[in-house]
């Protein structure tokens, strides 16, 4: 074997120096990799890759919202009888949407893991919301958020169908006024358009805070902000709402003009009678003056409170002044209003509407005495004073002079209301 003799050391050192030089020089002058040396993906490949990436991020996003929806869905229930979803509002209460004039009394609540029968419900025919009492549900979703949302923030709408939980992501736009059944309210505007199937569902932010309850508002559906839903639910607890819900009646104290018109009759005047409710079935009409309840004199609406008390067993008997007559009317809270509906069905299986009564008002001049009385286009004029309208001539005659005040009865959206048409200014 060759050994490096001492004489070779110089030789080896030179070689090493040359090697270092070669490496240094070589790495200095070596060509930089040209971009063209790398395989360049074509334009279509790039576009396809971009699309794939974007699609992946969309999938991730959808997955994120699905997870979020799963998280909040524990607070979203299905109410098969009401045909809507519901959100656990407070411990023991579920807020849901109301469609029919009457809210179903015995309501089933389909929760995530079980079905529960509701123990009661708070609702009123003029409110789009209903509060359903279920003893053993606990509130999970915070109903109010600490930080005001900004435009563009992500939201997710979650509702429940018979098939299961459904969700839709959206962006927050604004909070805007909305009117639900003449009731001024506020809604959370988002990029979503709500439909019937979403009613009763919740609109949540990405922290799981409730931003709105999806309720029917006029012709459309709106995510009403939680504070307004709270207000509606407490409104539903009021005496007026309970009277409406139970008997379809709205009453009020008489104005001075009315006292004069009705020639000094004292009592509480019936302002609205909702068609299909027990008040209407019993024969009450707008303009009736309730003077006594079960024989006791009624001076103000407060005197009527016993009729909405839960403990009321006997059907109340109202003494009513109508024109000159004094009537005794018994109203049964549980009067079967559906019977009247089925009357309209014959054995031939035909269903029809009863003929329209009264005259439809096409326009109301602003500032006129009709406008002052609250009459609106679309209302149907049924009665003027004592006279049921039968012909156009009759109506012209009755309204022609305007010298005297007239109590008129109109029908609007399934309710009859009475209003005093004041006498024309001379």
């Amino acid at each position: 074997m060759t050994r490096p003799a001492p004489a070779n050391a110089k030789y080896i050192f030179t070689l090493a120096a040359v090697s270092v030089l070669i490496l240094l020089l070589g790495s200095l002058v070596r060509p930089r990799p040209r971009s063209a040396d790398q395989p360049q993906p074509s334009e279509t490949d790039l576009a396809r890759l971009t699309r794939l990436t974007e699609r992946r991020s969309l999938d991730t996003r959808a997955g994120y919202f699905a997870q979020l929806a799963d998280d909040v869905a524990t607070s979203v229930v299905r109410m098969p009888d009401a045909g809507a979803s519901g959100v656990v509002w407070t411990t023991g209460t579920i807020a849901t949407a109301r469609f029919e004039p009457r809210f179903p009394t015995a309501t089933l609540v389909r929760m995530l893991d079980r079905d529960v029968r509701a123990s009661g419900a708070v609702w009123a025919p003029h409110l789009p919301v209903a509060g359903v009492q279920v003893p053993d549900v606990a509130q999970l979703v915070p109903a109010h958020r600490a930080v005001a949302p900004r435009s563009g923030d992500w939201l997710v709408a979650v509702w429940r169908t018979d098939q299961g939980r459904v969700f839709a992501p959206a962006n927050f736009l604004d909070v805007a006024p909305v009117s639900c059944d003449e009731l001024p309210s506020r809604e959370t505007l988002s990029t979503l358009v709500f439909t019937r199937s979403m009613a009763g569902g919740g609109l949540f932010d990405i922290n799981g805070n409730l931003m709105g309850l999806i309720l029917p508002c006029g012709e459309r559906y709106a995510a009403v902000v939680p504070e307004q839903v709270d207000a509606m639910l407490s409104e539903a607890e009021s005496f007026g709402s309970r009277l409406l819900a139970r008997y379809g009646l709205a009453v009020g104290p008489m104005t001075d003009d009315e006292t004069e018109y009705f020639k000094g009759a004292a009592g509480v005047i019936v302002r609205e009678v909702w068609i299909g409710f027990s008040g209407e079935v019993a024969g009450l009409r707008p303009g009736d003056i309730i003077v006594a309840l079960n024989g006791a004199v009624v001076a103000s609406a407060d005197d009527l409170r016993p009729v909405v008390a839960q403990t009321e067993r006997e059907p109340p008997v109202l003494s009513v002044q109508r024109d000159t007559a004094r009537l005794e009317i018994t109203i049964r809270a549980d009067a079967d209003t559906t019977a009247r509906e089925t009357d309209r069905q014959t054995t031939a299986g035909l269903m029809w509407e009863s003929p329209q009564k009264g005259y439809r008002i096409d326009a109301v001049l602003p500032g006129s005495r009709a406008a002052t009385a609250g009459i609106r286009p679309g209302d149907r004029l049924l009665r003027i004073g004592r006279t049921e309208l039968r012909s156009l001539d009759q109506m012209r005659r009755l309204l022609a002079t305007g010298r005297t005040a007239a109590f008129v009865e109109i029908e609007r959206d399934g309710r009859r209301r009475g209003t005093l048409l004041k006498q024309a200014e001379p």
Binding site: M1, T2, A16, V18, S19, I22, L23, P31, D37, P39
Partner: protein
């Protein structure tokens, strides 16, 4: 699968496969490779692409160690004795293999670029499996010595030929027009020079470091640390500087064997402890083979496989007869040169990035053929050594390729 789990699995199954194939008188290397094929993505899929990628560092180290060992054939006294015949034999078998493959591919209607690229790649003989078979069978003798020398030189030749062909293609094929003739010439020519001269320079420096330090280190374990460190450094720097880790490792071995007083000690420590590396290396190599490619290679693949074999056989035989070598060498040297693996695959990757137009044909043919050669190569090498009567002659506790062993 988790990296450590798959590593353990690799080692144990490689050992098992090595034992199993011994019964049918097949080299253990083939057993390792077959185990790799079975575990790999193309069959069982226990080793995923990610596993293979993560363990590629083992392959790099193992290949570096193997070429370091092969480099020891450049020991002065040995090479002075057999250098001339090794050079002639290598030139003959390489040229003939390249020529036959190129002609065949041209005959089958492929562009000249594809034919030349395949011809250049056909030169390479896998150093790893050849060395392993020699070790495993304790071979020694004229065929063994010549074989190691040829494998070392023919890989250098392959890199040179490939670089020349690549330069020619870039100069003669009208490219996008962006690059001038001079620039192309500079790029291609420099690459060739750099890969050879630069790699040798790097290998020499690392070898010098190794040789100088090894005289201070006596303990077997420490020698191994020194060696592993030097090889890792060499391979890493090669990657960093775009050099050829293959040539550089070869140069480290050559420098070491000529300069270190205790080189035998170092090589001995290496062969005592490196088998796990090699087992992993061959299993990974097997797992990266895709047996499903074989049916896809078509007529071109058959031409490549047969043409390369014929070229190697004929070249080795003619040159050996001319040199007046023994009939054993004349008859069996060709068999020992069939194995083909890493370098061919590496060049295919280079073709993929440099000549996208020709890459599909070249890749398919080479990758499919490598699958075949990788499996039959070790068997054929073993056959040659057995027939030449050199198996078991190095029993005397010497590593087969150690210098001054006789």
């Amino acid at each position: 699968m988790d990296q450590l789990t798959s590593l353990g699995l690799i080692l144990l199954l490689a050992l098992l496969a090595g034992h199993l194939v011994r019964f049918i008188r097949v080299p253990e290397v083939t057993g390792y490779i077959l185990a790799g094929v079975a575990l790999g993505p193309s069959l069982l899929g226990w080793l995923s692409q990610e596993n293979l990628l993560a363990m590629s560092v083992f392959s790099e180290v193992a290949l570096g160690l193997i070429l370091f060992s092969v480099g020891s054939v450049f020991e002065f006294s040995l090479f002075r004795r057999i250098g001339r015949q090794v050079l002639l034999l290598t030139l003959a078998e390489s040229t003939l293999a390249a020529a036959v493959v190129t002609t065949g591919i041209l005959y089958f209607g492929q562009p000249w670029q594809v034919a030349l690229l395949l011809g250049a790649i056909a030169i390479a003989t896998a150093p790893a499996s050849t060395l392993m078979v020699i070790r495993e069978s304790d071979s020694a003798g004229p065929l063994t010595d010549t074989l190691l020398g040829i494998v070392a030189v023919n890989n250098l030749l392959c890199i040179t030929a490939y670089s020349l062909v690549a330069a020619a293609i870039e100069l003669l094929t009208p490219a996008g027009g962006a690059a001038s003739f001079l620039e192309t010439f500079y790029r291609s020519g420099f690459l060739l020079l750099w890969q050879l001269v630069g790699s040798v320079a790097l290998g020499f420096l690392v070898g010098l470091l190794l040789a100088g330090w090894s005289s201070q280190v006596t303990e077997g374990g420490e020698v191994l640390i020194l060696l592993a460190g030097a090889i890792l450094l060499c391979v890493g720097l090669s990657h960093l500087l775009d050099l050829s880790p293959l040539v550089a490792s070869l140069a480290v071995g050559a420098t070491m064997v000529n300069l270190a007083e205790r080189s035998r000690h170092v090589f001995g420590a290496l062969s005592a402890t490196d088998p796990p590396f090699y087992a992993i290396f061959f299993v990974i190599a097997g797992a990266e083979l895709d047996a499903r490619l074989i049916p896809a290679m078509g007529a071109l693949g058959v031409v490549y496989v047969l043409g390369r074999a014929i070229g190697k056989f004929a070249g080795a035989k003619l040159a050996a007869r001319r040199l007046g070598l023994s009939t054993e060498v004349q008859n069996y040297l060709g068999f020992a040169l069939l194995a083909q693996a890493g370098l061919a695959v590496g060049l295919t990757l280079a073709v993929n990035s440099r000549f996208t137009g020709f890459a599909p044909v070249v890749s398919t043919v080479v990758l499919a053929s490598v699958t075949i050669y990788e499996m039959i190569g070790p068997v054929s090498t073993r056959f040659a050594l057995t027939r030449a009567g050199e198996v078991g002659l190095a029993k005397a506790a010497h590593d087969p390729m150690l210098p001054d062993r006789r």
